[in-house]
Symmetry: C2
Subunit: 299 residues, 2 copies
């Protein structure tokens, strides 16, 4: 690891706690009507994920000299979008997954209708939270972030990638299609996370470009690492089943290029991500350390 004196583990733990506390505060309470919907939203959003995307929002702000707490509503917004996408992807009509973060998936726990609506409601909450960020950040920056995050979530981002992923199940997939899926399904929202934090904190154009490049590389490396974990991982550490991609005939990097080439590509992408931060100083150390972590994680 290239982190020197920087303690990544402490950094991540502290910020994950901040995010958990803020999400708990922002999400509607289980006493408030409609209670069942709020239970489902909170069940899925407060289930102890790693909070990688919101931490990237905070780290993106910090990398350009901003204050993490000022971008917390947007950090939580992106976690809501991530959670919404997991709930809908797990539905019987899509991936039909029953286990997520070591617990029954939302539709198993609350029924399919509630799960669909809980996903929709979390997506709406995300945009309420972005609007809320205008309390601490100029409206012009908030509108730019709205554009970045909405595009990264929709048909030109996450949802578009998920669609091509489903269409490709059980089919022979070429490298271009696999790249399309990874870039849209996973990398788009990770890139938007680091970029959103930086834009809210007043990034210069060169900083935006560099962090966009960083985010894209880390996003692709993350998805390749995810594909590798699905082949090689320990289900106890991951809180979900392994081997499911192959069973479903999913397009994955190791299926197309093999395990060793996949590892190499992930490591090359991490180097490229860190190279994109060459003109940043110590304030980008968290982003550098996170880039390494993405391919070294066990779950």
């Amino acid at each position: 690891m290239n982190t020197n004196t920087f303690d990544l583990s402490q950094y991540l733990q502290e910020r994950a706690r901040w995010v958990d506390e803020a999400l708990n505060r922002y999400l509607p309470g289980e006493q408030e009507r409609p209670q069942q919907l709020h239970r489902a939203m909170r069940y899925s959003a407060l289930s102890g994920g790693k909070r990688l995307r919101p931490i990237l929002v905070l780290a993106g702000a910090e990398a350009v000299g901003g204050e993490a707490h000022l971008v917390m509503p947007t950090a939580c917004a992106i976690e809501c979008i991530h959670t919404f996408s997991l709930i809908h992807d797990d539905l019987p009509a899509i991936d039909n997954d029953t286990l997520r973060r070591g617990r029954p998936t939302c539709h198993v726990q609350f029924g399919e209708a509630t799960a669909i609506l809980a996903g929709d409601a979390l997506f709406a909450s995300a945009f309420e939270l972005i609007a809320r960020n205008a309390e601490t950040v100029p409206a012009e920056r908030v509108v730019q972030v709205l554009q970045i995050v909405a595009e990264a979530s929709g048909t030109r981002g996450m949802v578009g990638g998920q669609m091509v992923d489903i269409e490709s199940e059980g089919k022979a997939v070429d490298a271009d299609t696999l790249e399309y899926i990874h870039r849209h399904k996973t990398a788009a929202l990770l890139r938007a996370s680091v970029l959103a934090g930086a834009v809210l904190a007043g990034a210069q154009p060169w900083q935006r470009d560099a962090l966009s490049h960083y985010g894209e590389c880390v996003g692709l490396a993350f998805q390749i690492a995810d594909d590798l974990l699905n082949v090689l991982g320990d289900p106890r550490k991951m809180g979900k089943a392994v081997g499911t991609d192959a069973a479903r005939g999913k397009a994955t990097y190791p299926a197309l290029f093999g395990v060793e080439a996949s590892r190499q590509r992930a490591h090359d992408l991490v180097q490229e991500a860190i190279g994109a931060l060459a003109d940043f100083g110590a304030e980008a150390e968290p982003l550098r350390a996170i880039a390494h972590l993405v391919v070294e994680r066990e779950g």
Copy 2:
């Protein structure tokens, strides 16, 4: 009708055409990847609805002296949200409807996975379009509209109302719960439509308050009229089945209060809506005429 020389029919036709043209331009093309997702989005969004919500956005802007074309992205955004909600509500796990605007519903035509994702993608597109409105309107106003529209869509608005509607199926529902469902499921987005247009056009606080009151009344009247049409309507004029609410044990106004009391309540709400516009001049004539239309429509 209180429309004097104002020609509502021409006004609605013209604006519905503007909205159709703009939506066609804004929505991603069927040649663009992922094609099937874009086909499903366009199939549902460009299926010839009345465009009541986007027209309310335009009329809300005009009522405070604004220019309809400047708020077109937000008008189309709200139509995308309405379409998204119809697609998800029609799903087998929710209302299991097979016919909508005289055609097979999205999941019947494209499959359930594509329908879920097309709804999600339209919801994301809505927020891209709101961001786009910052090209012609100050960012501060766009952020206010973002807040209004996101809240009206989510758990404290449309999705929350849909959740309570589902929970109430087959149960004895009291007047408070029925009011909750109508206010959230239907009135919230109609109110947000007129308010969004007005805010983008620079409404004064008294104008916002008056139009908010107008929108709430028109929204409630619209849902009561919808309930009445489901009992008494002509399925050929409506493009969907009738009698479905009673068959499902849905909570409706006529089921709780009877047909005559429902008609009276809808007409009282229309009068209240028009009363809220007392301090507006001729520029609010479209809104007055729309309020009448809402309870007089046949589909």
